[in-house]
């Protein structure tokens, strides 16, 4: 897995590519999420469009990021979820836990909507 990121409108967008299955690669995503929290960058979108698949280790990393961000008054949202990962989120009932959007821009906009609510 490779990981790139950028920031837009105060939201950090993480762009993992490849497979998230555990081992050193997955640690990169876990560490990045927790680095962002330490830097008080608490609005995060993960763009999953280039992730081929993930296993339960990948799901665990997403949950870790989500719970830690929410415990720090932040949030993590998913964007461009592929069919394969959507299927995993559905069978594990994690669709009830994560907010997911069709595009990164929609996910970014949702932070503003939440702030105004």
């Amino acid at each position: 897995m490779k990981l790139s990121f950028h920031e837009k409108n105060g939201v950090v967008i993480l762009e993992p590519r490849g497979k998230i299955m555990g081992g050193p690669d997955a640690t990169v995503l876990h560490d990045k999420l927790h680095d962002l929290i330490a830097e008080k960058k608490l609005k995060v979108v993960i763009d999953l469009s280039e992730v081929d698949w993930m296993n339960s280790t990948g799901l665990g990393i997403l949950i870790s990021g989500l719970t830690t961000l929410r415990n720090n008054q932040g949030d993590l949202k998913l964007a461009s979820v592929t069919e394969k990962i959507q299927s995993l989120l559905t069978i594990t009932k994690l669709v009830t836990v994560f907010e997911a959007y069709d595009s990164v821009d929609e996910a970014i906009t949702s932070f503003g909507a939440a702030a105004r609510a």
Binding site: K19, M21, G22, M54, S56, T57, S64, L94
Partner: protein, 143 residues
Amino acid sequence: MSGTSRDSIELVIPSDPGRISEADDFLETALRSRGVPDAIVSDMAIATTELVNNAIVHGNKRDATKTVILSLQITDSEVVIRVVDQGEGFDPGQVPDPLAQENLLREVGRGIFIARSLMDDVRYERNPGGGMVVIVRKSLNPA
């Protein structure tokens, strides 16, 4: 087992979670080179990495002196995977339900559930020589 047996291959990996990608590379290369469809390859890769990771972490408890054997048998009609560890064994029925509301935010505990969801059959047996054997079957001719 239905279908004509074509071949069987095996990979031995040390009990290091950092080596999990070797299991994926082994599996995906073998299946793709034999023309298995992408959707089945990715389902099998997800399930196999779950089971190999469990064998390393829960079976062998990351003991570097122990290994995990991943074997793959491909016929015209199905793929059969065996994951063998050298641990003490465990009862998969004792794993908490990952769909229970109180477990939804747990970071671990979904591996067996996901493997069962994606595969046609997942069976746990005690290995006569010690450790556990997980046998997974996936049809190449889904209904």
